[in-house]
């Protein structure tokens, strides 16, 4: 199997004082570890998130995503290493005033209306965003008088998103924002997040869906077993995770093909070969040109989930 690995783990970033006037990074984790009893949830994480970045923390369940976020939010303290948010300790009220958060479960009081909850949360912050603005940005216009307990799953999720925007935050942290939503609600939710990103807000979100990370993020950090195993743009991550699967029958030289550009790997499955390629078109063209008898060709978009699971599995090997 030939896969170009990015160097893993990345060496700890050098500590440099910020250039004069340059804003401090939105999030900075240095050598962060977190143990729960005997369980090591994080085993040395270094991560710097710059201003304006939209970063996805991608990983399977139990990889350490939620733990990492709860350290960034000051809900827990690291066992080792340091966590800085916007240059400060995350648990300080002054830091919290600049961060908006959406957690996985946060059943708000069901008897209060959308408008009341938005006003209540706005009252927590020194310089809140106007209520109409918050409600519009979360796609909740027209639902101001609806009680929280009467909202649909997608609406409720957008309410939590609205509550995260109330303080006009510089950094928004979202933990698995679309878990449990149907496809349509999920897409609608992605739209509101994209709009926030276009607004220039720094966004850090955890997800176990590569599709979601790909749709929203400018940077994907893949976490597994408490470590960062990949860090790159969605294109880079997807390239590593493999684009399409070509299945073909014929007299082909797998070792040869695996060295072609755009080929991730070649495997023999039954009587056919499976070529996982990032550049399926190029590989097919060359395949037709260089191989006499290719037949029974199918080309299939790799399910992103499969690709992503492969990526994590490779890390374990």
């Amino acid at each position: 199997m030939t896969i170009v690995h990015t160097p893993v783990p990345t060496p700890p970033p050098q500590i440099l004082p910020p250039a004069h006037g340059a804003p401090l990074p939105a999030v900075e984790l240095r050598g962060v570890t977190k143990r729960y009893g005997d369980v090591e949830a994080l085993r040395g994480v270094d991560l710097t998130v710059g201003r304006g970045e939209v970063t996805a923390v991608l990983g399977p369940n139990g990889a350490g995503k939620t733990t990492a976020l709860s350290l960034i939010l000051g809900l827990r303290r690291p066992s080792g290493g340091t966590v800085r948010v916007l240059g400060h300790a995350p648990e300080e009220a002054a830091t919290r005033a600049r961060v908006g958060t959406m957690l996985q479960e946060s059943g708000v009081p069901p008897m209060l209306t959308v408008g009341e909850l938005v006003d209540l949360f706005r009252s927590y912050y020194p310089a809140p965003r106007p209520a109409a603005d918050v409600i519009g940005a979360a796609g909740l216009s027209g639902l101001e008088r609806r009680r929280a307990g009467q909202l649909s799953g997608g609406q409720r999720q957008r309410l939590y998103f609205a509550l995260a925007l109330c303080g006009d935050p510089e950094l928004v942290v979202l933990d698995e924002p679309t878990t449990g939503l149907d496809v349509e609600s999920r897409r609608r939710f992605w739209t509101v997040i994209s709009e926030l990103a276009a607004h220039g807000t720094t966004i850090l979100f955890a997800t176990h869906l590569l599709e979601e990370a790909d749709a929203l993020a400018t940077r994907i950090v893949v976490v597994d077993h408490g470590r960062i195993v990949r860090d790159g743009t969605p294109a880079e991550i997807k390239a590593q995770a493999g684009g399409k699967t070509i299945r073909v029958r014929g007299d082909i030289e797998p070792n040869d093909i695996s060295s072609w550009p755009g080929v991730v790997r070649v495997e023999k499955v039954g009587a056919r070969y499976e070529i996982v390629a990032t550049d399926a078109e190029g590989v097919l063209r060359r395949l037709f040109a260089e191989t006499a008898n290719v037949e029974e060709i199918t080309v299939e978009e790799r399910a992103l989930e499969t690709a992503f699971l492969d990526l994590v599995k490779e890390n374990e090997r």
């Binding site: 809900l75 919290r96 479960e105 946060s106 009081p109 008897m111 209060l112 009252s123 303080g167």
Partner: protein, 268 residues
């Protein structure tokens, strides 16, 4: 409600952002409860209904120590009401908000956690005052013969007493499973009201229960209220005050320790 909102807003403007924050939080807490009909029925209406059933028919009957059945039962059901506010309005609510992750969401905002819990205490105090006031009206209408100034003093004792019982509610909120908090609250409500003589005078309980009763804060709160109402001449009010305060202090200490423990776990 709009009137309350406006009052809160104007008072807030006059007393600074912290006070305003606290006021708005308390207002939200009140709104949430007032809109839940089950709360109004179970917590506010039930003690009054119980008084009307068990106290009102014999309200004027003398019980031989300077009081009437009406006065005795009014105090008993007032304590029952205050206790159910503390156990259900405070305890069950905190347990369910804890279970639903709302406490965690509040923790990541700049709102001081003290304001979040403080607003719940404001609600508990106001609901207690409401229950005592309604019982006072019911007592007056049924001829229990409590003088207004006496009842106002009793109401004050019970409202403060409610705050002294509040740590018990918070403890239920922190320790009970979110789905089981209602049951735990009920299990505490019954013996603690029994100790307050809500259902029958403590003197008529079996010896062992009587002795256990005297260890509870509700027993002493009831003694204090009945002494103030004027039909408990043998009572020792300072001893009762000490018991109530000591009970509150012990419970508050346990609450503080429990909260610190939870912050590292469920609230994170």
């Amino acid at each position: 409600m709009t009137a309350i909102a406006m009052t809160a807003a104007t008072m807030g403007a006059a007393t600074g952002p912290k006070a305003r924050l606290f006021m708005l939080q308390s207002l939200a807490e009140l709104r949430g409860h007032l809109r839940a009909p089950d709360f109004a029925a179970a917590t506010v209406a039930l003690p009054i209904v119980l008084y009307l059933i068990f106290g009102a028919p014999r309200a004027t009957e003398n019980i031989g120590n300077g009081g009437t059945v009406g006065q005795w039962t009014l105090v008993g059901f007032a304590i029952y009401g205050v206790l159910s506010v503390v156990l259900f309005g405070l305890g069950e609510t905190v347990a369910s908000e804890r279970g639903r992750g709302y406490v965690r969401l509040v923790r990541v905002t700049p709102l001081p956690v003290a304001a979040y819990f403080g607003a719940k205490l404001v609600f508990a105090a106001l609901a207690s005052v409401l229950i005592v006031a309604l019982l006072g009206v019911a007592g007056a209408l049924t001829g229990a013969g409590m003088h207004l100034d006496r009842w106002l003093a009793v109401a004050g004792i019970l409202a403060l007493g409610g705050l002294a019982l509040a740590p018990i509610g918070l403890l239920v909120g922190f320790l009970a499973r979110p789905n089981g908090a209602g049951a735990v609250a009920l299990l505490l409500l019954f013996p603690l009201s029994l100790a307050a003589g809500t259902f029958m005078p403590v003197e008529q309980l079996p010896e062992i229960l009587r002795q256990v009763s005297q260890l509870t804060p509700t027993y002493h709160l009831a003694e204090l209220a009945r002494w103030e109402a004027g039909f408990r001449p043998g009572a020792q009010p300072l001893v009762d005050v000490a018991w109530v305060i000591a009970g509150a202090a012990v419970a508050a200490l346990i609450v503080a320790v429990t909260y610190r423990r939870l912050v590292g776990r469920q609230f994170a």
